[in-house]
């Protein structure tokens, strides 16, 4: 499989007092024709990485290859890469069509050819009737689609998307997710998508790089990222999790007992840690259930989410855990606040983090 963007030991330090290291030794290969997402909280370096690929920033160190060619010294206009900006950044003095044709015109395509391609791109994002309008006359969602058409029109080798959906309302955001996914398939262009929204990342991506404090934490497909996070940050940032400090107990046939420090015990898969070591284990709230046996406790809070309900339970030994569960088929809740319950965790759902 071809590599679209190859990043090796890339660093970015913003000068200032004190200097800020926005990106630290980032190493990453983005494959051709994949939907790749950079996910992390604000300030994690994901936008810096995107701007380095686009050419708006120069790296402090490291190398950056695009289809085998070193590009870190090239100005943005010399890189076959286009960006969809968070705030759209449409040119207010041009019509929608002129906006979309802008890149092609700068690449010295004839006006007729540029406008024909621009019109095709507007068809692709279902805005062909808006070609003559000015961007100010469009809604936020429409402007976003124009920005997308504008970035796709020159047919870049890689399309960079900088939180393109964050300014849209929920319904629009959800429909745009499907739209983006469709566009990526139809055009065959490599998408590099930046977001802080984990749900968005899981739903759209072929692969995700989770970033924190300028460093790449884990690169994997969405299911692996969610099911088998490599460290506590990834496990915590994506989805919810119940964490415990535990001592590894006796091993038996590939599984182990984990002694929690509050005195209770969980059965789980054998990790890499030897017997007696202290590790962090966790399980996702939807992988536990309220049952007759297991860790005993009392329901302290109930969060009704529509499709699910979150039960916060204080265990008798002192720890708090969250259990996410469907309601009964008739719509009634599994337990009321204050009820005595037991939390049963499937041993296969226990994950042991490498310390």
């Amino acid at each position: 499989m071809k590599t679209a963007v190859s990043i090796k030991n890339l660093n970015k330090i913003y000068s200032g007092v004190p200097p800020v290291q926005a990106l630290r030794d980032a190493t990453l290969d983005i494959r051709d024709n994949e939907f790749f997402t950079l996910l992390g909280p604000s300030g994690c370096g994901k936008t810096t990485l995107l701007r380095l690929i686009a050419g708006f920033e120069a790296p402090t160190g490291g190398s950056l290859h695009l289809f085998g060619e070193e590009i870190s010294a090239l100005p943005p206009e010399s890189r076959p890469v286009n960006t969809v900006f968070q705030h759209y950044s449409l040119f207010p003095h041009m019509s929608v069509l002129e906006n979309v044709a802008f890149g092609l015109r700068r690449l010295r395509k004839s006006e007729a050819k540029a406008h024909a391609t621009a019109q095709e791109m507007l068809d692709l994002v279902h805005l062909s009737d808006f070609a003559a309008r000015s961007p100010g006359q469009l809604s936020g969602g429409q402007q976003q689609r124009v920005a997308l058409a504008r970035a796709l029109a020159p047919h870049p080798r890689v399309l960079l998307l900088d939180e393109p959906l964050s300014a849209l309302d929920l319904k629009l955001r959800q429909s745009m997710r499907a739209e983006l996914k469709r566009l990526q398939k139809e055009t065959g262009i490599t998408f590099v998508f930046v977001t802080h929204d984990q749900e968005e990342a899981l739903a759209m991506s072929d692969r995700i790089a989770v970033m924190s404090q300028g460093e790449i934490q884990q690169v994997d497909n969405p299911a692996r990222i969610y099911e088998f996070p490599e460290n506590r940050f990834v496990a915590e940032f994506i989805g919810d999790a119940n964490f415990f400090e535990a001592r590894v107990g006796a091993n038996e046939e590939g599984s182990a007992n984990y002694h929690l420090f509050d005195g209770s015990k969980l059965h789980g898969p054998q990790g890499h840690a030897p017997e007696g070591a202290t590790v962090t284990i966790f399980f996702r709230p939807e992988k536990a259930r309220l049952a007759q046996t297991g860790l005993a406790g009392e329901v302290t809070e109930i969060l009704y989410l529509g499709n699910n309900t979150d039960y916060l339970i204080r265990l008798d030994q002192g720890a708090d855990v969250m259990v996410r569960s469907e309601n009964h088929k008739d719509g009634t809740a599994l337990a009321e606040t204050g009820a005595r319950v037991c939390v049963e965790v499937d041993p296969r759902a226990i994950r042991v983090l490498i310390p």
Binding site: F56, E77, P154
Partner: protein
């Protein structure tokens, strides 16, 4: 009655503005207009007789036999004035745009310092500042003596008392009127648009030409108008730096009200200047309506 009272109540707020405009603009213009249709008094002033002589004099003169013959002298002055004013606008634009662009790109505290510096020349009398240019430009002035000392030239260049000197003086005088409106337009410019243009294969200069210039066009046009109007009627720079031999409309008007003692002709000239300015503004307004120079947000 109640209608009138309601009208007054609703519009009382604009009364001070209407009063100021009426007293300080409409009335003086009316006086000039009336004077331009009267006969000149013997020692300045006007005689209360209706006459269109002042307007005739713009194009015709009485020859020896008291026949009206076409005389292009004043027409030439008019065209020279338009030409020099246009040169002044162009010069202000060439110098002013980069200055405004540079200031707009500075951190905020520093911008205010620069803007203050731009306005500092206004603290000194215009006459004195223009005299200083004589010291710079004359045969024994700063430029000529420097060039001769360096051995670049043997004899002084004729810099003073040329149309070029007038244009230079006008550019110097009116450049803040160009810088400030362009700066105001650039300050509002979303710099991310430049990034977007670079991303879409524009060079630095391409982004300037396709994005920055069109979006600062309202400032460029406002600045051009603000320079063009006073430059057309200027008389200090033409008098001092043009030596009075390269007459411009402004100096001609001044002459009519002083040495020539022909107030009606001076008034008629003033009306001509005003008509030309109005014509320019109307052309601009029409262009704006078509969306040519308009700013859409």
């Amino acid at each position: 009655m109640t209608g009138l009272r309601a009208y007054l109540k609703d519009h009382a707020g604009i009364l001070p503005a209407a009063l100021v405009i009426g007293v300080f603009m409409i009335v003086p213009i009316l006086i000039i207009l009336i004077y331009s249709f009267l006969a000149p008094g013997d020692y300045g002033g006007v005689k209360p007789e209706f006459s269109t002589d002042a307007y005739q004099r713009l194009l015709f003169q009485n020859d020896l036999f008291d026949q009206l013959v076409f005389d292009p002298a004043y027409l030439k002055i008019t065209f020279r004035s338009l030409w020099i004013a246009t040169v002044a606008v162009t010069g202000c634009l060439i110098v002013g745009f980069p200055v405004a662009y540079y200031i707009a790109g500075q951190p905020e505290e520093r911008r205010n310092v620069f803007l203050l510096l731009i306005t500092i020349p206004f603290w000194t009398n215009l006459l004195i500042r223009t005299y200083c240019w004589i010291l710079v430009l004359r045969d024994t002035g700063l430029i000529n003596s420097a060039l001769m000392a360096l051995g670049v030239i043997d004899a002084p260049l004729t810099l003073l008392y040329t149309e070029g000197a007038i244009a230079l003086g006008l550019i110097y005088t009116y450049i803040p009127f160009m810088v400030l409106p362009i700066y105001a337009a650039l300050e509002r410019l979303d710099l991310r648009l430049i990034e977007a243009a670079r991303d879409l294969y524009s060079s630095r200069w391409g982004a300037l030409w396709f994005i920055v210039v069109p979006l600062s066009m309202p400032g460029i046009i406002a600045g051009s108008i603000l320079v063009f109007i006073p430059a057309l009627g200027a008389f200090i720079a033409p008098d001092l730096l043009g030596g009075g031999k390269n007459l411009m409309l402004g100096s001609l008007v001044q002459l009519q009200f002083s040495a020539a003692r022909n107030w009606p002709f001076g008034s008629a000239l003033a009306m001509v200047i005003m008509a030309m300015v109005l014509l320019c503004l109307m052309l601009y307004a029409r262009n704006l309506r078509r969306g040519g120079g308009g700013f859409q947000h």
